[in-house]
């Protein structure tokens, strides 16, 4: 594979073709915050926290670095007033769901995000999709999935599959940046102690 040279935060960075901007930055020791990214998973582009500015032919564009491919002579700025403003808002929006998540708290400090800017929401889940995608892409079990869409979108264990697979696996648990997965699992377990069903049962993961 051929090598590309691009510029990230004023530094010349070498990357291989097919690498994302995020991977190129990480390889050069430049950190970009992420929430929905995982090396073993397909780029998802959901949390939008890894947003950066790129300059292509004199045009500045906002792109998510976990999806955008590194390219020759690309100029990348991982921080700017705009980027920071967006990250701060994204964090504030997510902190309404998971005010106690360590990952979010650390990032909140860095970006000056106020965890109380928005009223608390009932669900902890920040929809990073790590659990769902890990189970589907790595374990190929699809024991946990998303149901519904928009603001009603929630994760849900599929009891029929979960009762067979999850007990001995639990590999997705440490991936969850919040308490949502654990909460959903506890609820599912309670559900499955009654006879397992293969139907999709939506599990609320509220705090109350």
């Amino acid at each position: 594979m051929s090598e590309i040279i691009l510029q990230i935060d004023g530094k010349e960075v070498k990357a291989k073709e097919g690498m994302t901007v995020l991977e190129a930055a990480q390889s050069a020791g430049i950190s970009i915050p992420t929430l929905c990214h995982h090396e073993k998973l397909e780029p998802y582009g959901g949390c939008r926290l890894c947003i950066v500015e790129v300059e292509v032919r004199g045009w500045t564009q906002l792109v998510v670095s976990c999806v955008y491919l590194a390219a020759k002579n690309l100029i990348v700025r991982t921080r700017s007033e705009k980027v920071d403003r967006i990250r701060k808002m994204i964090l504030e929006l997510l902190l309404a769901h998971a005010p106690d998540a360590f990952e979010l708290q650390d990032l909140a400090k860095e970006y000056g995000a106020d965890k109380d800017r928005f009223e608390k929401e009932s669900s902890f889940c920040i929809h990073c999709g790590l659990c769902v995608r890990y189970c589907a892409e790595v374990k190929k079990k699809n024991a946990v999935g998303f149901v519904d869409r928009g603001t009603r979108k929630e994760i849900s264990f599929i009891p029929g599959i979960a009762s067979k697979e999850c007990w001995n696996c639990k590999e997705c648990f440490p991936l969850c940046p919040t308490e949502a997965l654990q909460a959903a699992f506890v609820l599912t377990k309670a559900l499955i102690s009654s006879p397992p069903s293969s139907e999709l049962v939506s599990v609320g993961i509220g705090k109350d």
Partner: protein
């Protein structure tokens, strides 16, 4: 049916079809579009068939179920050829009279004609009706000329001649050049130049390519794509095949929303007929070019109309937008070059090929060419589909075609572009309609939704209404859209309930900015449009809600009160009897008073209070005057004293 093997055979067949029909023979064409069917066109068609038989006219009169001409609100629509007499709101009971009067005696049935609401004048022909007269119906006019289920009817109006021309007289490059020269821009959303999109796909190295029709049409209230696909499905197939030839594709899909069953039926019939004639499938018209089309029914989510979500859905996965920075004309369906265009975009293609790019570019503005179909609804006299040349002013659409605002009300704003479009105020009514012009005004062309609002509409509530639609349609994948819309909607709802806080408008603007800059797909990026455009043009209304707890349009329930003016009330007791909440105290010769604690603000009293009294008021932003004391409520009738 016989397979057609060459352009010559096509022309021969066309002549045969034309010679079979006698242009002077009466033809009753009844709109069989979804709108008219819903208002009873099916029964009207049956009644015509029965009556024609009863009167022994079977061989003397033709009947036809056609596509939608756009005036569905006045449906079922019947047009009698050759005179082109247009009858509206026809009921089965009217049929015997139409046959005996119009068909036998050549007399017009006056009461079924269009009556101009202002002048009272009647219009006999479709083309005399102001609603139609001021349109430029390049595309939709064919709908009422052909039976939507007959390929022969399509051939009779010159159908598939553009395809024959392309396959035998033009190279793929020449087709591309013509479309590029026409500057045809996408009718489904962003207005991207179709020719450039096609060229990108054509030049992509991957040999297998696809062409797709976007007939998801998720905008509530918009139905131009349905009308075209239902009414003239062959024109879409012909356009699509031409596009396939231009980019070198042999496989196409039509993505139709599930809620359009009639469109699915009609387009499937059209595909079968075209295949039988050899106008689709292998070796089309003997040219050696192969092209097949399949119909895919979508699950009907609004976001599935977004290009990457649509392709994901076609691949059999959940219709969610996917993140990518490579255009789908290079890497699209199954990772292959894919041209996706809207129904109306495709419908323009045969016309551009037949009549030439120069014909097409005579309509429109410098950067927006041709015509555009809008779905005109809301507080407007004539609602329906209107096809107009680009560059027409909003004022002309609303007043000349739409007939203005009913009920003597004042125009306030027009919302264009569907749920994520923007609101345009009165001072911009002379704006010329075009892609860039609408975007500059803070709105967009979108797919062509146009909702007219009058003075009684609260603009804060309008923004809330659209975000409330979008919150259910967002796929929920990315933070700025899912969470951003959630918070914007909460704030707007609070403002309309009188719970707005200092700083809310600025917070809304901040949330909007992040949604625009950081959302994954165009749904999130455009969702703030209704909000931002209303803040831009009606900021004073927002401020009145937040600072004075006043709704200037007197529309937000929680900010208004109903009050009876004691000096005007004539104690007629009408409101008292009609109030569903028993909130009005009064009686014979007693001035009526509303108990604010009981009033549910339904608005009945203001409607029923006789106009000559006009005693009921809506008030907002000020305290309700204290009820007059019991002992002062006896009505003193001045007129009777004298």
């Amino acid at each position: 049916m016989l397979r057609i093997n060459s352009p010559e055979e096509l022309e021969k067949l066309r002549q045969e079809i034309l010679s079979r029909s006698d242009p002077s023979k009466p033809c009753i064409s009844i709109c069989a579009g979804a709108g008219c069917l819903a208002s009873g066109a099916g029964e009207v068609i049956a009644a015509f068939k029965a009556e024609i038989e009863k009167q022994g006219l079977t061989t003397d009169v033709n009947t036809k179920g056609t596509g939608c001409p756009g005036f569905c609100e006045r449906g079922p629509v019947v047009i009698i050829y050759p005179e082109e007499i247009c009858y509206l709101r026809v009921k089965p009971d009217d049929v015997p009279e139409i046959i005996s009067q119009t068909i036998r005696e050549k007399r017009v049935v006056d009461r079924l004609l269009y009556v101009d609401p202002t002048t009272g004048e009647k219009a006999i022909h479709e083309s005399d009706i102001p609603f139609y007269k001021n349109q430029k119906r390049n595309l939709i006019s064919y709908n009422s000329k052909i039976d939507s289920k007959s390929i022969d009817d399509y051939l009779a109006i010159g159908g598939y001649s553009a395809l024959a021309k392309v396959l035998f007289k033009m190279t793929a490059e020449q087709v591309l050049e013509e479309v590029k020269k026409s500057n045809l821009r996408g009718r489904g959303g962003g207005g991207f130049p179709a020719g450039n999109k096609w060229e990108g796909s054509r030049n992509a190295p991957e040999p297998i390519k696809y062409v797709l029709v976007n007939a998801d049409e998720g905008d509530p209230g918009a139905f131009m794509d349905r009308a075209l696909l239902e009414g003239n499905p062959h024109s879409i197939l012909e356009g699509l095949t031409i596009g396939a030839y231009a980019i070198g594709s042999h496989e196409g899909y039509i993505y139709v929303r599930q809620e359009y069953p009639l469109a699915v039926v009609n387009v499937n019939i059209a595909i079968r007929q075209a295949e039988e004639y050899g106008l689709l499938g292998k070796n089309i018209l003997g040219s050696g070019f192969d092209f097949t089309v399949k119909v895919h029914q979508g699950a009907g989510a609004f976001v599935c109309g977004e290009s990457t979500a649509l392709m994901t859905a076609l691949e059999g996965r959940a219709g969610e937008p996917r993140p990518k920075y490579i255009r789908s004309n290079i890497v699209g369906l199954w990772g292959r070059p894919t041209v996706l265009n809207n129904v109306e975009t495709w419908a323009n293609v045969p016309l551009i090929i037949n009549k030439g790019a120069d014909w097409f570019t005579q309509f429109g503005t410098e950067k927006s060419k041709g015509t555009k179909i809008f779905s005109l609804v809301g507080k407007i006299t004539n609602t329906g589909l209107v096809e107009v040349p680009m560059g027409i002013t909003l004022r002309d659409i609303i007043y000349k075609i739409g007939g203005g605002i009913p009920g003597g009300k004042k125009f306030k704003a027009v919302q264009t572009g569907g749920p994520s479009g923007g609101c345009i105020p009165e001072k911009l009514l002379d704006l010329e309609v075009g892609f860039d012009e609408l975007t500059k005004a803070g709105s967009m062309m979108g797919s062509g939704g146009m909702i007219v609002m009058d003075e009684d509409t609260c603009m804060v509530d309008v923004a809330r209404y659209f975000l409330n639609f979008l919150i259910d349609e967002s796929c929920g994948k990315c933070t700025p859209c899912r969470e951003g819309i959630r918070q914007m909607l909460k704030i707007l709802t609070n403002i309309t309930k009188g719970k707005g806080k200092e700083g809310d408008i600025e917070l809304l603007e901040e949330l909007a900015e992040v949604a625009i800059d950081a959302s994954l797909c165009a749904l999130g990026k455009s969702a703030p449009n209704p909000l931002l455009s209303t803040v831009r043009y009606f900021r004073d209304e927002y401020e009145a809600h937040v600072k004075e707890k006043r709704c200037p349009a007197l529309s937000c329930k929680e900010l208004i009160a109903y009050h009876i003016d004691p000096s005007k009330c004539q104690a007629c007791m009408i409101c008292l009897k009609k109030c569903p909440a028993d909130a009005i105290e009064g009686g014979k010769n007693r001035i009526h008073v509303i108990d604010q604690g009981k009033c549910t603000k339904c608005g009945t009293c203001i409607e029923v209070c006789p106009a000559r009294f006009g005693a009921v008021n809506k008030i907002s932003g000020q305290p309700v005057p204290a009820p007059i004391p019991e002992d002062a409520r006896t009505l003193v009738r001045k007129s009777k004293e004298q």
